[in-house]
Symmetry: C2
Subunit: 256 residues, 2 copies
């Protein structure tokens, strides 16, 4: 029987404000067993870029990452946000290590091909070294992953944190019973957008298809759930979509 | 018999200019056996601080690190400089991992006590987890260490890169035959300050004491050599002070 492991992805806002960060670190420290934290940092990157006179350009919610912006996200995600989380976890007795995909070559990406849009130094994940990560975790280390990968040719690449979390969960699935928890601003997948408490407790692929056809699930939730089902198909045991203040996974929407 | 390990400390300038960085990475990749790279980044931090309107204050060559400056060095050392080196080494087939002292709790520091000067968030190294580092290195990983440590209470601390290198070398001495190489702007310890080629090939403590008394060795070289002898006393096999373009340790001044 494989040991249970929890991969938690938290968005930018929660790790960028001191109060919510401290609560997150407490909550994360309280989770039993091996675990991985994947963080964003987009707001901090945008703010830092602005202070440096660099304009943030977003297309379809994704950041255009030219050479100047790459320097900013490398600093902010890989340095500022990541190292503060690691130090905060160490203070709570959690032996964390901050990783980008370049570190120990844990996540290798391809630079995104230019079609209609040139996203610049943005990576699409090609390969996760699940064995290396599993060995590290089994030695008592808790990875804290920044949304950065590398191309194996010397370039750091900006990479979506949801994708990092999903691919990491998949990469670890041969070694652990993985629960993947996506935290976001809502309490879960809602049956009524206007009612924050209308959380759908469980959802399978058939129900998902039906709910999309009925127009109940729409917009940005569709790719989130597609990713979730893809993770399940790749061996992840359970995916939970929940609020950032509920990372224990007891609430929210369970996808199996 | 213990395996040989090389700890190389390179200063700011060499890792901050693209051409010299590429040469350094080639040279570092070419070194046989397990190795550790410790880097600075002071010039980049000063430049970034200046771009953000933060003034750099130095006292006795050490940076005063207030909360704003701590953010800058955390970003620049832990993110920008460190991750670019790691990605560059991965491109050369070296399985590097970027570490601050907070990562895996490898270097714990005390915040420097305020005497005449309040250095702010500056750490004096208290403890190196040599066993953790040795295990990592024995698994084929090459640590790339940023000049940052932590206090175990959630704070990242700015820490002198020479000190990081020395303490890391000492911490690894029980597990490896460690050669510690300090790279700087001269070819080694000079017998004539005016003659760049007057490198003293070998020096022991008695010779050092004599050369200091004779006024041959003076200024900033004295603490550098004090550190070197301290490392030797703590079990490091050999310390070499050499130029940044000679990191193979075949030139420069050998301290035994």
């Amino acid at each position: 029987m494989k040991a249970k492991l929890t991969v938690i992805k938290v968005g930018g806002k929660i790790v960028e404000e001191e109060t919510s960060l401290q609560k997150l670190l407490n909550d994360f420290a309280a989770i039993d067993g091996p675990k991985v934290l994947v963080h964003g940092g987009g707001r901090s990157a945008t703010k830092m870029a602005s202070q440096l006179g660099i304009e943030s350009k977003m297309v379809n919610g994704r950041r255009i990452t030219d050479a100047d912006m790459l320097r900013v996200v490398t600093m902010v995600y890989g340095g500022l946000v990541n190292k503060n989380i690691v130090a905060g976890l160490q203070a709570r007795g959690i032996n964390a290590v901050g990783l980008t995909g370049a570190d120990m070559n844990v996540i290798l990406s391809d630079i995104r091909p230019v079609k209609d849009i040139d996203y610049g130094f943005v990576g699409d994940v090609k390969q996760v070294d699940g064995e290396r990560l599993a060995t590290l975790i089994q030695s008592g280390i808790i990875p804290v992953m920044a949304p950065l990968t590398h191309d194996g040719k010397g370039n750091i690449l900006n990479t979506n944190a949801d994708t990092i979390a999903g691919e990491t969960a998949k990469g670890l699935a041969p070694y652990f019973d993985v629960t993947l928890i996506y935290c976001f601003e809502k309490k879960g997948v809602l049956s009524d957008e206007a009612d924050d408490n209308s959380v759908i407790a469980n959802i399978n692929r058939q129900q998902f298809t039906e709910l999309v056809e009925q127009g109940v699930i729409q917009g940005g939730m569709i790719p989130k759930l597609e990713n979730a089902f893809q993770a399940i198909d790749a061996g992840v045991k359970e995916v939970i979509i929940t609020a950032a203040n509920a990372i224990d996974g007891r609430q929210g929407t369970k996808i199996r």
